[in-house]
Symmetry: D2
């Protein structure tokens, strides 16, 4: 509780890493959107393990099936069931873990919450749960692109201590991002990041990183005042991803060190409409989009599964030396790029429908 997000574009995910499969139900996608499985598969392929030498060597094709809600290539307006069967499970990799809560994993907290020890290595805290999010997000993204021209592009902006140089927010595309397997569009930084990730694998260690996400063409007026501010919903969506430790929008933490006279975004007239000269706000003011690009960053910790031996204790408090045998990613950010895009799409599709609900059709009051 609760595996559901959204008020009108409502998505529920289900499935553990070691059960029959994982999936999602999308309830509230408008009718008459063209949709086939290939529309969804593209982002799943960007998320899947084994796609490059930088990720876990586990090979999972993660092929999606639409179970319901679509007929003759059109959405019906009814719940869209999505399912991806599990394959290549090696529960034995986790066999010796039944008595040892892995450091910085969720084994200990799940047991505290549910009173149950699972024999498997993860349950709902597994990154595999994000398959349902990516599949549902691909549908949200298609709706946003076709109805509003919204473009969502995320990229890796830092890995460990290596940070990408300045990126032109107007020029960035998914194709550009996918030029390198690390998904950083600054080629110099990308090369260093790849070297670092390879070194981590060698060292049986792992590293964290940061993803920046840009959303263009969101009309002014999406989002809400108070508890469901657009940035608040984005923050929740991003911090709901495994391994995330931080979220910032626009100026972010750096903005806390600025002066109001620097930070305020003055209005200007451009092509006949009001826009802002700067974008420290990150495209949102008072919880509501202002038409400028939405820009936010998400921090991911280093993966907790490392091959190095770790000193810890088992559930009985006995000292143990833990060596992970499972196949894992030394850095999650390259594969997390489509996941961040998916979560942004889910939040925005919900916001789009909410805003449409309250429109009167009349022009703004003069």
């Amino acid at each position: 509780m609760s595996s559901t997000i959204g008020t009108l574009f409502k998505v529920s995910t289900f499935g553990e890493s070691h059960g029959k499969g994982v999936g999602a139900i999308v309830d509230g996608c408008p009718a008459r959107l063209t949709l086939v499985e290939a529309d969804i598969q593209a982002q799943l392929d960007r998320r899947r393990p084994g796609q490059s030498a930088l990720t876990t060597p586990r090979q999972e094709s993660d092929t999606v099936t639409i179970l319901s809600g679509v007929e003759n290539g059109l959405t019906l307006g009814t719940p869209i069931g999505l399912f991806v069967p599990n394959k290549d499970q090696r529960p034995n990799d986790y066999h010796n873990l039944a008595d040892i809560p892995r450091p910085s994993h969720a084994d200990y907290t799940y047991r505290a919450k549910y009173g149950i020890k699972t024999s498997s290595g993860g349950g709902r805290s597994s990154a595999r749960e994000t398959i349902g999010r990516v599949a549902a997000g691909a549908i949200a993204e298609k709706f946003l692109a076709e109805r509003y021209g919204v473009q969502i592009v995320a990229y890796v902006s830092s890995v460990g201590e290596i940070t990408a140089g300045s990126i032109d927010p107007a020029a960035i595309t998914r194709k550009l991002v996918d030029t390198t397997p690390i998904r950083c569009p600054d080629p110099v930084a990308a090369a260093k990041m790849i070297t670092l990730v390879s070194a981590m694998r060698e060292a049986k260690d792992s590293t964290g990183g940061v993803i920046t996400c840009l959303v263009r063409n969101v009309p002014a007026g999406w989002g809400n005042p108070v508890f469901e501010k657009l940035e608040a919903q984005l923050a929740q969506a991003m911090l709901s991803l495994p391994a995330t430790k931080g979220f910032e929008i626009g100026s972010g933490f750096a903005g806390a060190a600025m002066r109001g006279s620097q930070h305020n975004d003055p209005f200007i007239l451009k092509n006949g409409t009001l826009t802002t000269a700067t974008n420290y706000s990150g495209g949102i003011q008072g919880g509501i989009s202002n038409g400028a690009p939405i820009v936010f960053r998400v921090a991911f910790k280093p993966p907790a599964t490392i091959g190095q031996p770790q000193k810890t204790v088992d559930y009985n408090g006995q000292d143990v030396l833990l060596e992970a045998k499972g196949r894992h990613d030394p850095c999650v950010v390259p594969r997390a790029v489509p996941i961040v895009e998916a979560m942004a799409a889910l939040v925005l599709a919900d916001s789009a429908l909410l805003q449409q609900a309250y429109q009167s059709g009349a022009s703004p009051q003069v």
Copy 2:
């Protein structure tokens, strides 16, 4: 939409800065909690304007009345209505603003959303809306303290470029925090921060800051997997506050530059129970509390209302020079401390009730 937060400890706020008043309805507070208005007033007094030379000179007593849900000093289990009348309104301060969207305020986006221009200076994006949150949060906090011994203490950890030195998380108390009006428990940094804020007032400028929040004695097992992870709910709660630009938990953005071998929190046995030797996780793993202190930080931008003249354009795109006449805070973080505490309390009270809902009463499986 939506002015409501929480699933079981559900709070709805209402009221604009220039209407009859502001308030909140708390629906889902357990019955038989002792409660009088003084329990709520204490935190409102820490939030109110005019409490020190560092804040806006507006004098608002912000006295709360309980409208319902309490009888003979005990909660009934029914909705608790809370109301604080507005006073000391000077709408004329905002009179010339009807045609000018103030930079980095919500005037422009509210008009885009609702199609209406309000004659007042803020509506629901006003910091005054947070009165309802603080009042409701005080009730949540009382419930958490009495039932579970939970302690929530927030403090100012940076103002502009000035950052507090190391703070012992075990020693910090609200009393210590309130030693200085800036609410930073490091006295050296506090003095510098006060000087900076005073300089900002002189310069008709403003500055941002960061608040750190510590929550002690949360039992292991609160929170949820997936979309309602405890850190995700805290992130939403904090980014729903006016002027916030970032949230981080535990290691935060710094964690993204770390190695797994450094960042993992190994388990140790302490006083007969498992705990972690370090707390980079910030008290939460996989969305669920692990019993360690919850630690998070919230970035606040510099207030958008500044006395300096600003070049911007009006709704018609005509150049204007805007000079704010309203009374305002040069830095919001001292007054935001009880607000951050209130939002943390709301999230945690909801988590406590949710966790109780699913308990079987049986011991964890061995």
Copy 3:
């Protein structure tokens, strides 16, 4: 929990019969609806006690104040706070009841639920709670009338064993309904009903009754499949009213005794649009409105408060003879008419906004 209804047109009520007052928050009313207190007061006046010799002699003016969400006579899109102070309280009427759970009241079940005995005579189960519903419903109704031309008219169709004759659904208006204080538009039945209610008062007894509600001009397409079928939401709304025991739509229970060949509503062409020749469906098919009038009926039990002595037991199981001294209605249906209308309006306003959220603007597929 939970005192909130609706997904987009969301209403929360608060207040006990013996606290400071009762009220409601309407969160999600579209902006720019003209609204003044008089728009709301009219229905409150139809609900208030003491309005005729048929009702309780308690005199409560029930004057509503708008606390927020409206400026210059226009809704802002933000939460509309509504408050009605309590007056004419006589808690002593209920003084001797602290130890005796009144038969068919909620005293016993509230105590079982909340573990608390209130000294007052009712709490949230009081009919006074419905003031917030009527106030909120008046706003919903105004929105529906202005935007869609929806008309909602309820009337008393039976009191005790007296049932109104055939009523022309096209001719019925609120004015016609209010011709008699019993609110039954069949004058012959109305006279008998009035006699019966007066006899009940004399006999210190009470009687039940049935309210029929007609809703005209709901466009086809409102409502939902599955759990939130329009009739399901109406059923919930009506059974959430105090003293209700049944709900039926269209043919209702009588439909269970019919044949499919009789009960099916064949389509016909009328004024260029499809409609149905009969309306056993009651205006809804598969949970979604079909454009025909929505017709439903609600059964109300006889009020539990009667002046006759009743044999029962106190909380300790001791035999007692209970004689109510409170002032009460011998029959609730005349005053329940505006309450049923309000609940219908709340459900339909929410449905209208939901349907608008998913509209593509394109014509139906041919």
Copy 4:
């Protein structure tokens, strides 16, 4: 929207009658409940078509698979995915219907809502959607029985004009109900009902009926005041079932003709606890269970699909004579018995968890 029911025991269904299958996600079932597919299959078998000569001859085995949320025969606390593949589809039976909205079906209203004409014969309004409800309900029922001893038994109390005689609520069991295929425990009435249903099949016609549902051993204190009264939630749950036209609890519509002096349920002491001498309330007072059996009745209309030719018009308004070729039930109530039980279980499991959430562990106040 919305295919989800419940706050804490939350169930979402998905799937059309002519897609790949139907199913449900149960989010919020407590951990450590023993659960295997056979626990669910039993009620699906009571619901499935072709189980007796009284139902549609369509043969669908409706075998359920648990996709997630269960490991080693124990629930994990995570979402339980349930799936039943579709078989024996004959879309050609519905081929000629693309241009004709079937009378009293949802074809017309779905097209009005979604702007789309499906080539299939029903979509989400199909009775097949109820498979997900029955599967989820079986889990809810197991939880209620094991934790609280709750027993839910529904039976057919009328078919067309034939009504069962008096049934002893204490003696009724599922086994007794299943003695005859019509599921009426009064053998004399059952025989007449079977004859009537057979005659309907012969006449290519259909008939409605009524189901009565009894719930024993619900503790006092479940349910809520105001909008989520227990009877309101049951009413919503029942009216959300296809073909339902009415709901009544306890005395129901007959109660509207009674006097308060008859209808009130006086308290008595029995085996050391308070209970009521009569049960006109139907086990609920003020929205909260009182410990007495919960008794309600649900009216089902005659199935709209009949073999007789029907005069109606197509979407263009042209006169047509419609003859259904699909295989259908002449009366739905025998198969609806487990569906009514499932919906009751879903509402009550949610109520049980909600009540546990707010318990303090302390004894009721004296």
